[in-house]
């Protein structure tokens, strides 16, 4: 009566999957997990992969099996999905604010070794009161503002003040500092990225030094992303790196020097031609409700086609007249931003040698709370 349960497609050629559908090239995906794990054998920092990209516990488990020390996520709802799937060492790399969410967070703390970022004294008081009331201990990192202009305490004195407050707060355990250089991770040029990332990381290191000069031990130093993992991750002061996109990559990260060449793209969108009104135009069933476009219009992997625009449920492509595609034919599109594209889908189709091998539910899809 309605669309097929995805599992019916296991064992069949990928071209027979109904569309639009997210495909993972499992060989490439597994190689990306290995490549990143191998890098972290060469530096002091460890890998704590960011699950905001894939939102899927089984992928987090594969990252842990390859050597990651824990998982990072963006939202409490993602952390719940991970903890419920048996993952205990999870960092929510954001502030958790409000009575309802704090109650959920403390519940998680009783069932895992969850960590959370803070940047506000009142929030620290609320977390402490909630943890103490439940007899829980919540691990806490202070988020330091290192140039992105989003959240975080200012480096130096304000960070020391908040760290000291945490040390005196019942139910909380001060673990260290976090600083995310989100303004540099996707800069294509390697030299420029190194310089700008270095400025951000130095602010974090200087703050660590300042805290320790003042008697506050800083255990964890967390930061970085796929684009800066080898830069930030090479500072001996950094203890963990939050790379996420490397498992899938996308056309944006593909152009980031030193990253795109080491991590091939494993994620594509399978789409069907729904109309060929003219020889120079191909319309597919992939629009903005299955492909994000804030980093640019995603492009097909078929020669002779260029995506001109996405409407809600259509992709409109300019075609060379010689392109042999008619309604019903399928092709693949490379997303321009894997993280927001994944959030539009309910499952992945894992493909090896052209055959669907596995279907994974995107369990934390839409978990924005």
């Amino acid at each position: 009566m309605s669309e097929a349960h995805p599992d019916v497609f296991i064992g069949i050629p990928k071209e027979e999957i109904d569309t639009p559908a997210l495909l993972i090239d499992l060989d490439v995906f597994e190689a990306n997990i290995r490549t990143m794990a191998d890098f972290f054998k060469t530096v002091n920092a460890e890998l704590r992969p960011h699950a905001k990209t894939h939102k899927t516990p089984i992928i987090a488990h594969k990252q842990l099996e390859a050597g990651a020390i824990g998982i990072t996520c963006a939202k409490l709802g993602e952390a719940e999905a991970l903890v419920h799937a048996g993952i205990r060492d999870v960092l929510i790399a954001n502030q958790v604010v409000g009575t309802q969410k704090i109650a959920r967070l403390i519940n998680l703390a009783k069932n895992s070794e969850i960590m959370v970022a803070v940047d506000d004294a009142d929030n620290v008081d609320q977390l402490s009161a909630a943890a103490e009331a439940k007899g829980a201990t919540l691990r806490v990192l202070v988020e330091v503002s290192t140039g992105m202009g989003r959240c975080g305490t200012m480096p130096g004195e304000p960070t020391l003040t908040l760290a000291r407050k945490i040390l005196k707060s019942k139910g909380l355990k001060f673990e260290g500092l976090m600083g995310y250089e989100g303004h540099t991770v996707a800069r294509p040029d390697l030299i420029e990225r190194k310089i700008e990332t270095g400025k951000a990381v130095q602010l974090l290191i200087d703050t660590k030094d300042f805290l320790e000069e003042n008697g506050v031990a800083v255990g964890i130093m967390s930061g970085g992303g796929t684009g800066t993992h080898a830069i930030t991750g090479s500072y001996p002061e950094m203890t963990e790196i939050q790379a996420g996109s490397y498992v899938f990559m996308d056309s944006t990260y593909h152009n980031v020097e030193g990253v795109g060449d080491r991590f091939p793209c494993s994620l594509t969108l399978l789409t069907t031609v729904v109309s060929r009104p003219e020889s120079t135009r191909v319309i597919v069933d992939a629009g903005m409700k299955v492909l994000s476009k804030e980093f640019g219009i995603p492009q097909p992997l078929t020669d002779g086609l260029e995506m001109r625009g996405l409407s809600e449920e259509h992709g409109t492509m300019d075609a060379e007249p010689s392109v042999d595609l008619k309604p019903g034919d399928k092709l693949e599109i490379l997303p321009s931003h894997c993280c927001t594209t994944v959030n539009l889908h309910d499952c992945y189709y894992g493909v090896r040698d052209g055959i669907v091998e596995s279907i994974w539910e995107i369990a934390a899809r839409g978990k924005s709370q």
Copy 2:
């Protein structure tokens, strides 16, 4: 253990809903449904509201109760959600292509009076064979290309040829023509919109005349959107109009002359301040995973704030220092594109007089197949 079932919020003040959350101002929403229904009492055309905007059967039922003759949708999966909720007269205003989807469509045809758009002879053959094999009758509109540059047959002879083919095809019933002037619906200037819409509608009317001169009766003439409902809907040749966004509106449609002034915005996103790192900066828990931005960055409804950018899970706002907001405080943001924003959410919170009155599941969220 995880986020609360939304129903626990019924009966409480909207400010106590956990965030991010989509709110519907029920008074405004109901007035918009009435205003649009009232307009269609004054013209020959009837209203067939587009459910791609709300993706929610109970809202479609409310539109039908107010006088709509049926419902439009974009995808087969949306049509299934509507038919399963008891709605029988549904138009899928797109091509349905591929063996699996055609089997689902024919199943729907046996359980409803579903209609589908076609623009391709092979697709007509496939639909006909599938319908005949199941003893079903599928209602069909030919989509005519009227200037948007997406799908559709060319006006005139090619449309006649396809209509005649449908008339000779077992299992299919030719109902008429469809043409969507998607390139004109959101033009702010009313005169320019009237002129450009008129060109598109005239192509559809000329094609109807041409078919009828050639002995092919055209029953249904379908087209239009919220921005053109009063233009396209005023042509006596048009029989039904596919307006969708009018129930919610957004900052884009709000600026469309003759529409924004008649249909106030009923849909907002409730968000929580998660950080106030400086007096001039407010960070909220609303990013691109809960708000689309292809039509522009959504803006808060609070004076003294301006959204500067959205990252995946954060909104970064410039603030006047006098704005009294601290972490935990809530505010509302007006989406810039209601249709793609709704597709990021699992439910609506219906609010009247500041109290949550109803929670509606967005049953067709993500139904892109």
